[in-house]
C-alpha cells in the first residue's frame, strides 16, 4: 500500500513537473479583451438634383472643413485614342474654366488654402475639392464650372504633353515602375486600356478637339455623382447645389463604354535586361476575379494565406526563413467591373534569382494540392473580421465605397454581405478555389535584372526577352512624294547654283583648310571658340577647337570618329556621327552636294517657295544618308540656307544654317559667315578668317586627320 502511495505521489509529482515544463500562459494571453465599442457608421443622406445628378451628404462638424468628391462615368476604356482619358483627366483641372484661366485658378485656390484636383481612371473620371468652410461660396461655383465648362486651354495641353513626354523618357529608370508596367501588359495584353503604355506618337496625336469631345460625350448629369462631406447643413447644401448645377444639361445621346475583351491566362517566362540594379525584380501571376464573383471570398482567404501578410507562406519562406528578400508576397487584386489579377512578387540579389522564383512557384503548387491548415484559415479570417471596423472609421471611406458600389451596380450592403461570406469560408472552399482559379502552368512570369540572370531561367522553360527601348518621337513633318517633274526642277536649280559657285573648281574639289571663330549662344551666355582644321570631302574632317576647357580635337572619318581632349579620347556615337558626316558634306554652302549634282550623283526635289531668314527662297529637298535635307536657293540663284534634322540635347530638332558673305577663293564662291537658327533664335554663329582649297596637306591625309 505504501509503495503504491509513494509511486502515485511520485507519478503525480512527475505530472506536475511535466505540466510545469509546458508553456504557462504568456502575459498577453491572460488579457481579457472587452467587447468592441459599437461601430458608428457615419450617417449618409441621399438626394438627386432635378437634372439627375446623384448627391450624398455626410455631415461632420468636428472641424471647419468641407470636402467634395465627384465621379463621372468615362475613363480609359472609353477612349478613341490611347492616352486621351489620361490627358483629359489632367487638363480638366489645369486648363482652367470658361471664366478663370488655369493659372488664375492655381493662384486663387492656393491663396485660400483650398484644392481642386481631377484625374481619369479606367472607367471613371474623379474630381475632388477641399476647403475651409468659410470659403465654400468661392470654391463650389468654381468646382461646378470645372464640371460644366472646363476650358482645356491649348497652352496647358502643351504643358501637360511636355510632362507626359518627359515621363515617357524616364519610364525605364526606376525598376519598380518599369516592372509593374510590363507585368500588367503581360496579364491584360499590351494594347489593353488597363495596361496603358503611351508612346510619344500617342501623346502627339491627341488634340484639344479630342478633349472637348470626351467632355461633351461623357460629362452628363445622369452619370455624375457628388458627395459632400464636412461642416455644413444638408438641407441648405442641397438647395445650394441645385442652384449651382441644377440647370446643367447634356442632351447628346447617352454613350456606352464596353469592358475590353481580355485574353485568358497563358504561360510565359519573360526577361528584361536592366543592369543598373542590385536586385532582380520578379513578378508573376495571371488574370483573376471580379470582386462580386461568388468565389471571391474563398480566393480572398486563399491569397491572404499565400502571400497577403507578414505571416503568409510566401513571405515566410522567401524572406523570414531564407532571408532572400525584403519584399515578398502577393495577392489577388480584384476589380469591380472586370477580372482582376493574381500578382506575386519579390526582389532579391542576382545570385538568388532562380531560388526566390522557384520558392514562390512551389508555394503556388502546394496550395493547389494540399489543404491549408485550420490555424492559417482562422488567422486570416480573424484578421479580416477584426479589421472590419476600419471600413467605417472615416466619412471619406464610407462615401467612397457608396460611390463605387452605386457606380458599378453593386448592392449597398455589399460590404456586409462579403463579410458574412468570408466568415463561412471553409478549408475545402480554399482548396477548391485554388484549383479553379490559380494555375501554376498559366503564369506570366516577369524577371527584370542584370544580364547574367537570364541564364538562371533557362531550366524553367523558354524565355522571351522583352525589349523596352523607348521608340523615338515621330518626325512631325511629312514631305510630298517626289515626281519626275519636281525632281527635274529641283535638280536644275541646284545645277544652276553649282555653276554660279564655280563648276570647274567644284569638279576638282578634294579638300579644304579653314580657320575661324564660332560663337555658341547658351542660357549661360555666349561662348566664342577659335577653330581650325581640314576637311577631306565628302565625309572626313579634323577640327581643332579652342574651348574654355582647353584644346579639343574632333575627327570624323566616314563611319568612325572620335573626340579628344588632352589624353582623353572618346568615340563619337553613331547617332552623332551621322550628323557630323552630313555636316561635312553640306559645309561651306553645300560644296560637296553641288559637286555631286554636277556629276549626276545627287538630285533635288523642288517643294516650293518659302520664307527663310526674312527672304524668299526656293525649297529643295535632297536625300542625304537616308535623311531628307532642305536646301534653300535665294533669288540670286545661290544656296542661302540649309536645314537639317539633328539629334540635339533636346531631342531631334530642325536646325537651319543660313550662309552669307560670299567671297571668291581660288575660283570658288564660298560663304564666310553662317548662323544656325533654332526656330527663331540664333544658336550659333561662325565667321571664317581663312579658307583654302585643295591644299597640300602637311603629311598624308591619314596622319593629318589624326587617324593613325
Amino acid at each position: 500500500m505504501k509503495k503504491l502511495m509513494i509511486l502515485s505521489i511520485v507519478l503525480l509529482a512527475i505530472c506536475v513537473m511535466a505540466s510545469g515544463a509546458e508553456k504557462k500562459p504568456r502575459p498577453f494571453e491572460t488579457v481579457k479583451v472587452p467587447p468592441m465599442n459599437p461601430i458608428k457608421a457615419p450617417a449618409v443622406e441621399k438626394a438627386v438634383l432635378s437634372n439627375g445628378v446623384k448627391l450624398y451628404f455626410i455631415e461632420d462638424h468636428q472641424l471647419p472643413l468641407v470636402k467634395i468628391r465627384a465621379m463621372v462615368r468615362g475613363g480609359a476604356i472609353c477612349e478613341d485614342k490611347p492616352g486621351q482619358a489620361e490627358l483629359f483627366g489632367e487638363v480638366l483641372r489645369t486648363g482652367g474654366t470658361k471664366s478663370m484661366s488655369g493659372d488664375k485658378v492655381d493662384e486663387f485656390l492656393e491663396t485660400i488654402g483650398a484644392e481642386i484636383e481631377s484625374y481619369s481612371g479606367d472607367a471613371f473620371t474623379a474630381m475632388w475639392a477641399e476647403m475651409l468652410k468659410e470659403n465654400r461660396d468661392q470654391v463650389f461655383p468654381l468646382f461646378a464650372e470645372f464640371i460644366t465648362a472646363p476650358a482645356f486651354a491649348e497652352d496647358k495641353i502643351e504643358l501637360e504633353k511636355t510632362k507626359m513626354n518627359s515621363g515617357i523618357s524616364r519610364r525605364n529608370d526606376e525598376v519598380m515602375g518599369l516592372s509593374r508596367r510590363e507585368f500588367v501588359k503581360l496579364v491584360y495584353g499590351a494594347d489593353s486600356p488597363y495596361a496603358r503604355q503611351l508612346e510619344y506618337a500617342d501623346v502627339a496625336a491627341i488634340t484639344r478637339e479630342d478633349l472637348l469631345k470626351f467632355h461633351g460625350k461623357y460629362f452628363r448629369p445622369d452619370e455624375t455623382s457628388i458627395a459632400v462631406l464636412g461642416d455644413f447643413d444638408t438641407a441648405e447644401m442641397k438647395t445650394y447645389l441645385e442652384k449651382l448645377l441644377g440647370n446643367w444639361r447634356n442632351d447628346s445621346p447617352k454613350p456606352s463604354c464596353n469592358i475590353p475583351a481580355i485574353p485568358g491566362p497563358k504561360a510565359s517566362i519573360n526577361f528584361i535586361e536592366k543592369n543598373d540594379v542590385e536586385q532582380t525584380t520578379i513578378l508573376l501571376g495571371h488574370l483573376g476575379l471580379r470582386l462580386d464573383d461568388p468565389d471571391y471570398p474563398s480566393v480572398n482567404m486563399l491569397s491572404e494565406i499565400l502571400g497577403g501578410s507578414m505571416s503568409s507562406r510566401i513571405f515566410t519562406q522567401v524572406r523570414t526563413l531564407k532571408g532572400l528578400a525584403y519584399g515578398a508576397g502577393g495577392y489577388m487584386m480584384p476589380a469591380y467591373d472586370h477580372n482582376g489579377a493574381f500578382y506575386f512578387y519579390t526582389s532579391t540579389k542576382p545570385e538568388s534569382s532562380k531560388e526566390a522564383l522557384v520558392t514562390i512557384l512551389d508555394e503556388i503548387k502546394k496550395i493547389r494540392t494540399e489543404k491549408v491548415t485550420a490555424e492559417e484559415l482562422k488567422r486570416s479570417k480573424d484578421n479580416y473580421l477584426n479589421g472590419y471596423a476600419f471600413e467605417f472609421d472615416s466619412a471619406e471611406k464610407v462615401a467612397r465605397r457608396l460611390f463605387l458600389y452605386q457606380f458599378y451596380g453593386y448592392p449597398e450592403t455589399f460590404s456586409e454581405d462579403l463579410r458574412e461570406k468570408i466568415e463561412k469560408v471553409s478549408i475545402d472552399d480554399v482548396l477548391n478555389a485554388a484549383k479553379k482559379h490559380l494555375f501554376e502552368d498559366k503564369l506570366s512570369i516577369l524577371v527584370v535584372g542584370k544580364k547574367e540572370v537570364k541564364d538562371q531561367l533557362s531550366s524553367l522553360g523558354s524565355v522571351n526577352v522583352i525589349d523596352i527601348t523607348i521608340p523615338e518621337p515621330p518626325v512631325t513633318e511629312v514631305l510630298p512624294e517626289p515626281t519626275p517633274e519636281t525632281l527635274k526642277a529641283g535638280t536644275e536649280i541646284l545645277r544652276a547654283a553649282a555653276e554660279k559657285v564655280g563648276a570647274k573648281q567644284l569638279s576638282a574639289l578634294r579638300n579644304a583648310s579653314f580657320e575661324g571663330t564660332t560663337t555658341m549662344k547658351t542660357p549661360m551666355g555666349d561662348f566664342s571658340m577659335k577653330q581650325k582644321g581640314f576637311a577631306v570631302f565628302p565625309d572626313r574632317i579634323h577640327v581643332q577647337v579652342e574651348s574654355p576647357m582647353g584644346k579639343m580635337d574632333q575627327v570624323v572619318k566616314g563611319a568612325e570618329g572620335y573626340m579628344a581632349m588632352g589624353d582623353k579620347k572618346r568615340p563619337i556615337p553613331e547617332s552623332q556621327l551621322r550628323d557630323a558626316r552630313r555636316s561635312v558634306y553640306l559645309s561651306m554652302g553645300g560644296l560637296s552636294l553641288l559637286k555631286d549634282v554636277l556629276a549626276g550623283k545627287a538630285q533635288g526635289q523642288l517643294i516650293g517657295e518659302k520664307d527663310i531668314d526674312s527672304r524668299k527662297a526656293k525649297m529643295i529637298v535632297v536625300n542625304i544618308d537616308g535623311a531628307p535635307v532642305k536646301v534653300y536657293v535665294g533669288a540670286d540663284g545661290m544656296i542661302c540656307a540649309i536645314a537639317t534634322r539633328q539629334n540635339t540635347q533636346e531631342g531631334p530638332k530642325e536646325m537651319v544654317e543660313v550662309v552669307s558673305d560670299f567671297r571668291d577663293v581660288k575660283g570658288l564662291k564660298v560663304p564666310f559667315a553662317s548662323k544656325t537658327l533654332d526656330g527663331a533664335e540664333v544658336a550659333e554663329q561662325t565667321g571664317y578668317a581663312a579658307v583654302s582649297f585643295n591644299v597640300d596637306l602637311p603629311g598624308d591625309e591619314e596622319s593629318v586627320l589624326g587617324l593613325k
Partner: protein
C-alpha cells in the same frame, strides 16, 4: 498645474476663445482633449480621445535613430527595429532555454567567422570551414524558433497599418486596432521592449541587406545615399539610415542587444494613443504594463556638430537613367526660433502650381516636369538641410534647371514676397493641419514627433500661430542668409554617354 488660479484662468480663456472664434480655433479644442502622464518609470504617455470610430492607433516612439550611430556601426538603429518584431523569451520560441543555448553557439561560430573575414589576410580554406560551422549552428538554433509568431499574433488580432520605421532622429513602431484591445497592445508592446530576444538574427540581416539592395537599385536612391555624406562632414546625418553594406554584414547580435539596452529604456520612450480610448481609464492599464519597462538612464545626445561648410560641394553621378538634381542648404534644427520661416520659404518656393519654382521651371521655361522644395530632409532635431529637387524635362540639362533655380533663390532673398503669397502660406498650413487631425495614426505620430523633437507635444498646436507670425522681412532675411553658394551641396544624375 501648480497654480490653481492660472488653471482656472486658462480654462476660461479657452472657453472664451472657443465661443468667440469657435470655428477658427476648433483645433485648440482638440488640444484641450489631449491627456498626458509620465509613468513611474519615466515613460511618457500621451492620449488623445477621438470617439468617432471604435478604433485607435498605437505608437511607441523611441528617441533613437541613425544619428546615434558611429562610423563602422551604421545601420544598427534600423537592424534593431527589424529585430523588435522577432519576439521575446515566450513569443517566437519553442523552448527558450534550448534556443538560448543554441543561439550562444551560433554567436560563437559567427564571431569566429567574422574575425577571419575581417582580418588582414583571410584564409579561404579556413573561411569555408568557419562558414560551414556557422551554417550548422544556425540550423540548430532554427530548430527552436517559432517563426513569425509575433506577426501571426498581430494578424489574428486584426492589426492594421502595422509597420515601423527608422529615421535619423527616431525609431517608431505602430499599428491600429479596435480600441477594446488597448490592454492587449500594452501587454504585447511592454513585453517586447522589456525582454526582446533576437531570434533569427543572421537571417534577418540578410533581409536587411536585401532592403539596402532595393534602395541601391533606384538611381535616385543611389544619389541620396551619396548626397548626405557629401553635405555633412562629421555629424551622423551623413550616414543614410540603412547603413553601409559591410557594416551590416559584420554586425553581431551582441551589438544589437547592447543598442537595445542603451536606448530602449523607459526614459527614452514615448507612447502615444489616438482614438476611441478614455485616457483616465487607460492610464492605470498603461502603468501596469508599460510601467514595468526599466527606467534606465537617459542616453547622452550626440554631441558632434558639423562646422560651417567652407565651400560649395558638388557631385555628378553618371547613370543609365535620366537627369535629376538635388540641391541642399544647411539650416538650423527645427527648434530654432526661425523654423516657421524656413517652412514658409519652402512653401512659397515649391508648394503648389502657383509657387515660384513651379511657375518658373515648369510653366514658363518648361525646364522641368517636377520641382519641389522641402524645409528639412529627414533630419530635424539637429541642423538639417533645406532641399530643392528637380526632375528636368526631356532634353533639358541639369545645369539649365540649376541656373533657373538659383535665379529664384536669389530673388526671394532680395525682394519681399507678395501679400498674397504670405497669405497663401498661412492658409495652406491651416487646411493641411486641420485635414491631418482626422487621421488617428498620422496625428499620433505627429504628437510623438513634437514631444521628442520639439520638446513638447503642445508644439504641434502652436505651429499655426508660429506660421501666422512669419513676416515678409523674415522670409527675405532668412533666404538671403541661407541661399549662398558656400552653403550649397549639389548632387545630380547625368545620363551616361552625354558630354563631359
Amino acid at each position: 498645474m501648480k497654480n490653481k488660479w492660472l488653471a482656472v484662468a486658462s480654462v476660461l480663456l479657452i472657453l472664451f476663445s472657443l465661443s468667440a472664434v469657435a470655428a477658427d480655433d476648433s483645433y485648440k479644442a482638440v488640444e484641450k482633449r489631449v491627456a498626458e502622464k509620465t509613468l513611474s518609470n519615466g515613460l511618457k504617455v500621451i492620449i488623445l480621445q477621438r470617439p468617432e470610430a471604435p478604433v485607435a492607433s498605437f505608437v511607441i516612439y523611441a528617441n533613437v535613430g541613425g544619428v546615434n550611430e558611429q562610423q563602422n556601426g551604421t545601420g544598427l538603429a534600423h537592424i534593431f527595429e527589424h529585430m523588435a518584431f522577432k519576439g521575446t523569451d515566450t513569443i517566437g520560441t519553442k523552448d527558450y532555454a534550448k534556443e538560448k543555448a543554441a543561439m550562444d553557439k551560433e554567436d560563437e561560430a559567427y564571431l569566429a567567422l567574422r574575425a577571419e573575414r575581417i582580418s588582414q589576410n583571410p584564409n579561404p580554406e579556413k573561411l569555408k570551414v568557419l562558414e560551414e560551422n556557422f551554417r550548422k549552428a544556425g540550423e540548430e538554433a532554427q530548430k527552436w524558433v517559432e517563426t513569425g509568431e509575433y506577426d501571426k499574433i498581430l494578424e489574428r488580432e486584426g492589426a492594421q497599418q502595422l509597420n515601423a520605421f527608422t529615421a535619423f532622429d527616431q525609431t517608431v513602431y505602430f499599428y491600429s486596432m479596435t480600441s477594446n484591445k488597448l490592454e492587449l497592445w500594452a501587454a504585447l508592446e511592454s513585453d517586447r521592449f522589456i525582454n526582446p530576444v533576437l531570434h533569427e538574427f543572421y537571417k534577418e540581416k540578410d533581409v536587411i541587406m536585401e532592403e539596402k539592395r532595393m534602395g541601391d537599385s533606384s538611381p535616385i536612391g543611389r544619389l541620396f545615399d551619396d548626397f548626405f555624406p557629401l553635405a555633412y562632414k562629421a555629424h551622423m546625418y551623413r550616414s543614410y539610415v540603412i547603413g553601409n553594406m559591410e557594416d551590416l554584414r559584420n554586425m553581431t547580435r551582441e551589438q544589437a542587444m547592447a543598442w537595445f539596452k542603451k536606448y530602449y529604456c523607459a526614459k527614452n520612450l514615448t507612447a502615444v494613443i489616438v482614438g476611441d480610448v478614455d485616457p483616465q481609464a487607460a492610464f492605470p492599464i498603461l502603468e501596469k504594463y508599460l510601467g514595468r519597462i526599466p527606467a534606465g538612464v537617459k542616453p547622452e545626445p550626440p554631441i558632434t556638430v558639423d562646422p560651417p561648410q567652407r565651400g560649395e560641394k558638388r557631385m555628378i553621378m553618371e547613370d543609365a537613367s535620366q537627369p535629376f538634381i538635388t540641391i541642399g542648404f544647411h539650416r538650423p534644427a527645427v527648434t530654432d526660433k526661425d523654423d516657421a520661416v524656413y517652412s514658409a520659404i519652402a512653401d512659397i518656393l515649391g508648394g503648389g502650381r502657383s509657387s515660384r519654382l513651379y511657375k518658373s521651371l515648369v510653366k514658363e521655361k518648361k525646364l522641368a516636369m517636377e520641382v519641389q522644395a522641402m524645409p528639412t530632409f529627414e533630419g530635424e532635431k539637429y541642423p538639417g538641410i533645406f532641399t530643392v529637387i528637380c526632375v528636368p524635362n526631356k532634353g533639358v540639362k541639369n545645369e539649365d534647371c540649376e541656373k533657373a533655380i538659383y535665379d529664384e533663390l536669389k530673388k526671394i532673398g532680395a525682394e519681399k514676397v507678395t501679400d498674397d503669397e504670405l497669405r497663401g502660406v498661412k492658409a495652406r498650413a491651416k487646411t493641411r493641419f486641420l485635414g491631418g487631425i482626422d487621421n488617428n495614426l498620422g496625428l499620433a505620430i505627429q504628437l510623438a514627433f513634437a514631444e521628442n523633437v520639439r520638446g513638447s507635444w503642445r508644439e504641434l498646436f502652436k505651429s499655426l500661430d508660429k506660421i501666422d507670425a512669419v513676416s515678409q522681412d523674415d522670409i527675405m532675411r532668412v533666404s538671403k542668409e541661407m541661399f549662398v553658394r558656400n552653403n550649397r551641396t549639389v548632387a545630380m544624375i547625368e545620363t551616361q554617354g552625354g558630354e563631359e
